[in-house]
């Protein structure tokens, strides 16, 4: 471990693709499509998610895909799916439409908090992996579900930090920490990250990457905020690789309780 230099550290490999940037970007909620490429550039992100339901095939000018750089990895998501079956159908449509074979599964049966349905998500993952998709499932951070997703062949797991769009930060910190410890797949914290410092915190914990949308899209200056997130994610990753020193509750005690062991 000690030999790893930060330069050689550390592409993340997902679906056979090595990615230098550990920040994934969402394309919803922006005031215009024109700002999206600037956001991607400023953030350094190489993977961009978009809801297939929002991809406007009939109006080229309105089609988000026509605003994305050619070398970006497209991660279409199944927003709008209420069951595994619908998620599978949307994923197939996305692939047929030329969006590649990556898919972020979102199965949501709760419109108030947009919390994912883990059960349906596992079912959809099982089907889509068999069909050759690189599957990144959005999930509530639950260890049992994460293990099932890993068994089903998911390429990563994407636990939420807090409800989508809530900007509340890493509310699920303990549960995400357990996933990072126990699951050998990349753990990508998706949803809820409201500030760059929270993205850095997730990365320091050992998250493989984070996905951010609302916090960037609804900032007064989305492009600058995208850059700030890019820097925070890189900083958090660097800190994780550096092996942060152990934290102490108090200064070292002056009279040691076990000093006698070393006496006489």
């Amino acid at each position: 471990m000690a030999e790893i230099t930060l330069q050689q550290a550390d592409a993340m490999e997902i679906g056979g693709i090595a990615l230098d940037s550990r920040l994934l970007i969402g394309t919803g909620k922006f005031s215009s499509h024109e700002v999206v490429p600037q956001v991607i550039k400023a953030s350094g992100s190489q993977v961009v998610t978009m809801a297939l339901r929002r991809v406007d095939w009939k109006n080229p000018q309105e089609n988000i895909l026509n605003y994305l750089p050619e070398d970006i990895v497209l991660l279409p998501n199944t927003s709008g799916a209420r069951s595994a079956e619908e998620a599978v159908r949307i994923a197939r449509l996305a692939r047929e439409a030329g969006c590649g074979n990556w898919v972020k599964i979102e199965v949501v049966q709760d419109q108030r908090y947009l919390l994912p349905d883990n059960f349906e998500t596992v079912k959809a993952t099982e089907v889509l992996v068999k069909e050759g998709f690189v599957v990144l499932p959005y999930m509530s951070p639950d260890l049992g579900t994460a293990r099932r997703l890993a068994d089903a062949g998911a390429a990563a797991v994407m636990p939420l930090g807090a409800p989508i769009g809530s900007n509340r930060g890493l509310k699920t910190r303990e549960l995400v920490r357990i996933l990072i410890e126990e699951i050998s797949l990349p753990v990508i914290v998706d949803a809820g990250i409201g500030r760059p410092s929270e993205a850095a915190e997730a990365m320091e914990m050992g998250a493989a990457a984070v996905l951010v949308n609302t916090a960037i899209a609804t900032a007064s200056d989305p492009v600058q905020m995208a850059q700030a997130f890019g820097m925070a994610v890189a900083a958090g990753r660097m800190a994780y690789l550096s092996g942060p020193g152990a934290r102490r509750e108090q200064a070292e005690a002056s009279s040691q309780l076990t000093g006698f062991l070393r006496e006489g």
Binding site: G28, K29, F30, S31, S32, H33, L52, R53, R54, V55, D56, W57, K58, N59, P60, E62, N63, L65, N66, G80, R82, E86, R89, I90, L93, E96, A97, G98, C99, V108, Q109, D110, Q111, R112, Y113, G165, S166, N167, T214, A217, T218
Partner: protein
């Protein structure tokens, strides 16, 4: 059933007269993340009137956070205006001498092409209430013709049975709109003089039947100007809350239609819904239900629509006609249901939204029935 909630609150409401709320109640509501029903009443009370700006700021923040800087666009398509009801406020009233028409399936396709040509991909189908002339089978046949042209197909028709909603859902209908018109039963009876629409409860339970039938997006509302607006908007919000709670997988939204000039003699007698009142209602909806969609139609003037935009709106109609036919040159036009106030064409609405810093969204649904999107390569760069 929401009807039970409605009944219980009809009794309760007299305990909470609007005048009893004070500034402190409004401030408490403003400072909470999750509001209860008393908070909602406070926001609808006279005590909230001095706090409209504070409410607007919070409503704006919540809307951007939950929906982003995007506005979904749709347009209505009136399929038929035959009607067996006698609604005192509606031009389609069976007794009114108007030009009655129904689109043939060929005309439906012509209209579809004309509408799709403007870029719009969400369409809302309307009929009068006539099972004879425009029954569910006719609507289904229209949906078959429309499906290849649109990403989302909604219906705003007379109340149907759950089984009928399921059939239409399976045929490709994903969205549903039904206005209760008046939640107040007495007012409801007063303005619905004859016809099947007189059944207040059957209509009120329409949205629940649609949810159970599989419809993914449900839009409700009271016709503002019929009943007393505080009561009507309170029940509308309660209704939306009920639907969100019991059908959590359904996207619920609310319209705030105000009575428009129409053929007929009915004049609103209740407390008038002025612009400040409309704003107060809208803000109360947003603060009480941060995730609910808010729909603003062309019933309102261009100026007011632009002013209301940042206060919580998530969906707007554009380029609307309320007549049967008229989008394409080939179709003969029937009498309109009411006069619209914002008759700007779609491209002007789009331009306006962009100028205001909003992204117009033409497509926000995947029609999963036989819809194959064009290949990415085929879309012009």
């Amino acid at each position: 059933m929401f009807y039970d909630v409605y009944k219980a609150w009809r009794e309760n409401l007299s305990q909470y007269p609007a005048e009893a709320f004070e500034a402190g109640d409004v401030l408490r509501a403003l400072n909470r993340d999750r509001l209860d029903r008393l908070d909602l009443l406070a926001l609808l009370s006279p005590a909230a009137q001095p706090y409209l700006e504070e409410m607007a700021q919070k409503a704006h923040r919540l809307t951007i956070q939950n929906f982003g800087r995007t506005i979904s666009l749709f347009t209505p398509l009136y399929l038929a205006n035959f009607c067996s009801n006698r609604c005192a406020y509606c031009s389609f009233n069976a007794q009114n001498q108007i030009t009655r028409r129904q689109l043939s399936l060929e005309e439906v396709e012509q209209e579809a092409r004309a509408i799709a040509g403007t870029g719009l991909q969400h369409i809302l189908l309307l009929t009068g209430e006539s099972r004879q002339k425009s029954g569910p089978e006719y609507i289904e046949a229209c949906v078959e013709r429309l499906r290849p042209h649109f990403a989302s197909i909604g219906i705003e028709v007379y109340p149907l049975e759950e089984e009928e909603y399921r059939r239409l859902y399976e045929a490709g209908v994903d969205a549903f709109t039904m206005f209760q018109e008046a939640y107040d039963e007495d007012i409801y009876a007063e303005v619905h003089l004859a016809g099947p629409k007189r059944n207040h409860r059957y209509r009120m339970e329409g949205p629940e039947r649609a949810c159970r039938g599989g419809i993914a997006s449900v839009n409700i509302g009271a016709l503002l100007g019929l009943g007393e607006w505080r009561t009507e908007s309170f029940f509308t919000a309660l209704h939306a809350e009920y639907l969100q709670k019991h059908y959590p997988d359904v996207e619920v939204s609310i319209s705030m239609p105000r009575l428009r000039p129409h053929v007929g003699t009915f004049q609103p007698v209740a407390s008038p819904v002025t612009d400040p009142v409309l704003v107060q209602i809208m803000l109360a909806y947003r603060l009480f239900l941060p995730r609910v969609g808010l729909t603003l139609s062309t019933r309102e003037s261009p100026e007011l629509r632009e002013d209301l935009l940042p206060l919580g709106v998530t969906r707007m109609s554009a380029g609307s006609l309320t007549s049967v036919g008229g989008y394409s040159e080939g179709t003969e036009t029937g009498s309109p249901q009411f006069e619209i106030a914002d008759d700007r064409p779609v491209d002007e609405i789009v331009k306006m939204l962009r100028t205001k810093g909003y992204q117009p969204t033409f497509c926000d649904w995947v029609n999963m029935r036989e819809r194959t999107p064009a290949l990415r390569q085929s879309t012009a760069k």
